[in-house]
């Protein structure tokens, strides 16, 4: 039925709209999501790389300066002078005043013995021989040596810078101990956020600084091995399901590697917030689109259905009036055809009556019969005349006119149409017309149509042996109206249904017997004429329709 068709149309429209609006929506959302991601990630990686390089530069600068200081001292002071511990002390203090990182200073001969020493661990170190130490060998060979961090005799982390001094054929070593805490501080500044880490490893992947999380000093870090990287690098490594960023930067001298570790989760927090917000908006947007589409489509199809109903109703109204007009025409045609023969019969009978008046025919024994027959013929012609004239009036009324109407007359005429039907079903029609009912300016044909419809319904409802009561009166209130009451003693209309009887397409009859439009058309006719139609009913007792027709016409 209509509702199925509209259901499918509704679903089709919703599906199409959602498809075409959600696809770009989605695409946009997903694209933005991933664009955000890549852009942000690359930015973070860039930043980490820069930081790593920055720290590496700081470290290299530090070493450069320290080495430069020592080389300056070694090349500008004579060994004899430096052998003097007092002198050495002065040199040391000068150096320390510019840089607190120098822990001690020592002069060592080519055999590895301390010639002079300035520093906190004098007792322990003065008598030590370094000949077999790695750094001693390396320093004698290369001229400059920076060691890895080690604990050494002092049991604290430090490293040494040793430079070789040459005087003629004498080689000696100027050695300084640097507190590796300085390096630690520089490295620590590469820690990003709460979970970032930074440390230095040597070429054997042994930690030179103490990281925050990634291991212990002098051990291998818990991270992958970066000790042999060449050039600055940033990579993302997945371990245990976590994505970690590593930036690595090799330090040229000493040969260490600076490793920065960053937990992108932390850095990416704003990105995740943005992505989350975007996802929320996307979902909200999708929800809105869906809801909006469904609602709009619903209301559109409801509107369509309503319009279709309206059209069907007005179509039916048109068909009704077309039918009535056709009926009227046919009735008029037939009546006219019959009127001519009737006129002739009437005249012939009249002529016979005239002739019977004459002397010569009066003597006939059957005169009485002749007279009687002619009288009866004339009466029947009269009766037929009434019928045809009524039919003609009915046909004439189908032309839409506004005329002065006597409501009682219209009612009486309507009853004559239905008289036979009522009589056949043993239904009694009683009338109580008000006398002196004022005439009203209205469309008599339409009014008659309404009466016809309601009285017909009453006949159908009441069944065999019922009563139909017609009453007219005048109500002076509200500019005056004619009140027509049509009552029957039928089964009545149940309360639940009473409010619906004027609805279009509402009917209690089977489709062949009723379209459900009769009362709704009657209702709209009366409304258009400026009147009102109401119904009162009690189940088991009967129904009364009350029609109000304004006395002043419908152009108020």
């Amino acid at each position: 039925m209509a509702s199925n068709h509209y259901q499918r149309l509704r679903i089709k429209i919703i599906a199409m709209t959602l498809f075409f609006s959600l696809i770009p929506f989605f695409t946009l959302g997903v694209t933005i999501y991933y664009q955000f991601d890549t852009a942000y990630t690359s930015k973070i990686m860039e930043a980490l790389k820069t930081l790593c390089q920055n720290r590496r530069n700081a470290i290299e600068l530090f070493f450069d300066e320290r080495v430069a200081q020592l080389i300056t001292v070694a090349n500008t002071q004579t060994l004899d002078r430096l052998k003097d511990e007092e002198y050495l002390k002065k040199v040391f203090e000068t150096m320390q005043s510019r840089s607190k990182s120098f822990l001690d200073l020592g002069v060592i001969d080519h055999e590895g013995n301390h010639l002079a020493y300035v520093g906190p661990h004098y007792e322990q170190l003065k008598s030590v021989n370094y000949h077999n130490q790695d750094w001693f060998q390396a320093a004698m060979s290369y001229g400059v040596h920076v060691s890895d961090v080690f604990l050494g005799f002092r049991k604290i982390p430090h490293f040494i810078i040793a430079v070789t001094g040459v005087e003629g054929n004498r080689r000696w070593i100027l050695r300084a101990t640097i507190n590796s805490e300085i390096i630690d501080n520089i490295v620590r500044q590469g820690q990003v956020g709460k979970r970032g880490d930074a440390f230095i490893v040597n070429r054997a992947n042994v930690l030179q600084t103490a990281p925050r999380f990634s291991g212990k000093l002098f051990e291998h870090p818990t991270t992958p091995d970066f000790s042999s990287v060449i050039g600055t690098n940033v990579e993302e490594i997945t371990s245990n399901g976590d994505h970690i960023l590593f930036a690595t930067c090799p330090i040229t001298y000493p040969k260490w590697v600076l490793v920065l570790r960053e937990d992108p989760q932390e850095e990416m927090a704003p990105l995740f917030k943005a992505q989350y917000a975007e996802a929320l908006i996307l979902i909200a947007g999708i929800f809105l689109v869906v809801v909006g589409t469904v609602f709009t489509t619903r209301s559109m199809t409801s509107e369509l259905i309503r319009m279709e109903h309206q059209k069907a109703e007005s179509d039916d109204l048109m068909i009704q009036s077309a039918k009535m007009a056709a009926l009227g025409k046919m009735a008029a045609g037939i009546a006219h055809e019959i009127n001519n023969p009737l006129a002739i019969i009437g005249e012939k009978a009249g002529w016979m009556k005239d002739l019977l008046e004459k002397e010569d025919v009066k003597a006939s024994p059957n005169l009485g019969e002749f007279e009687d027959c002619i009288k009866k013929i004339e009466r029947q012609v009269d009766r037929s005349r009434t019928i045809t004239h009524r039919l003609l009036r009915f046909g004439r009324r189908m032309e839409p006119t506004e005329d002065m109407v006597d409501v009682n007359q219209i009612l009486a005429e309507t009853i004559t149409f239905l008289e036979n039907e009522a009589h056949y079903r043993d239904i009694r029609i009683q009338t109580a017309y008000a006398d002196k009912l004022p005439r009203v300016t209205t469309d008599s044909a339409q009014l008659q149509q309404v009466f016809l419809n309601i009285i017909n319904n009453a006949i159908d409802a009441v069944g065999k042996g019922g009563f139909i009561d017609l009453r007219t009166s005048y109500d002076g209130g509200n500019r005056g109206s004619i009140v027509i009451e049509i009552s029957d003693n039928g089964p009545g209309i149940p309360k639940e249904v009473l409010g619906k009887i004027f609805d279009p397409f509402f009917t209690t009859k089977s489709p062949q017997d009723g379209t459900g439009l009769g009362l709704s058309i009657s209702y709209s006719i009366i409304e258009k004429l400026g009147g009102k139609i109401t119904v009162a009913s009690e189940e088991g007792k009967g129904t009364t329709f009350t029609i109000y027709v304004p006395a002043r016409g419908f152009a108020t």
């Binding site: 008029a332 009546a335 003609l392």
Partner: protein, 141 residues
């Protein structure tokens, strides 16, 4: 009843035949024709007081005939007779000068009353014309 001249125009032959007989029986001078053209031809040579004219006729219909009659003999009264009672032709007829409009079948006595009244009006009109100095002169056809 005064004797006046009547012309019956109707295409129903039986109807014309009977009504002519009955009216003659009642002392009127009556002629009957079966078409508008015949009526107009007859009116060229004879003068009538009242015409009973059927509206629906084949050939020249009642309204056409009425128009021509009123041109030819404006003072002759015409009573329109019809079997179908269309309001428009009634109004049109009256506007063209018909005396009245009657629906078939009509009891003869009712028709006689109408005709007598029509004749009365004709007499009054003729009198008025005479007094105004214009004699009723039939128009040239």
């Amino acid at each position: 009843m005064e004797k006046f001249r009547v012309l019956i125009v109707d295409d129903e032959v039986d109807f014309v035949e009977t009504i002519v007989k009955r009216l003659i029986d009642r002392g009127l001078e009556v002629a009957g024709v079966h078409s508008g053209l015949e009526a107009l031809d007859l009116m060229d040579t004879k003068d009538f007081d009242v015409v009973i004219l059927d509206v629906k006729m084949p050939g020249m219909d009642g309204i056409e005939t009425l128009r021509a009659m009123k041109k030819k003999r404006p003072l002759t009264e015409v009573i329109m007779l019809t079997g179908h009672g269309s309001v428009e032709s009634g109004i049109q007829g009256l506007q063209l000068g018909a005396y009245n409009y009657v629906m078939k079948p009509v009891p003869l006595n009712d028709l006689l009353k109408q005709m007598a009244q029509a004749y009365e009006r004709k007499l009054i009109e003729e009198e008025r014309d005479r007094q105004a100095g214009n004699e009723a002169v039939p128009e040239r056809v």
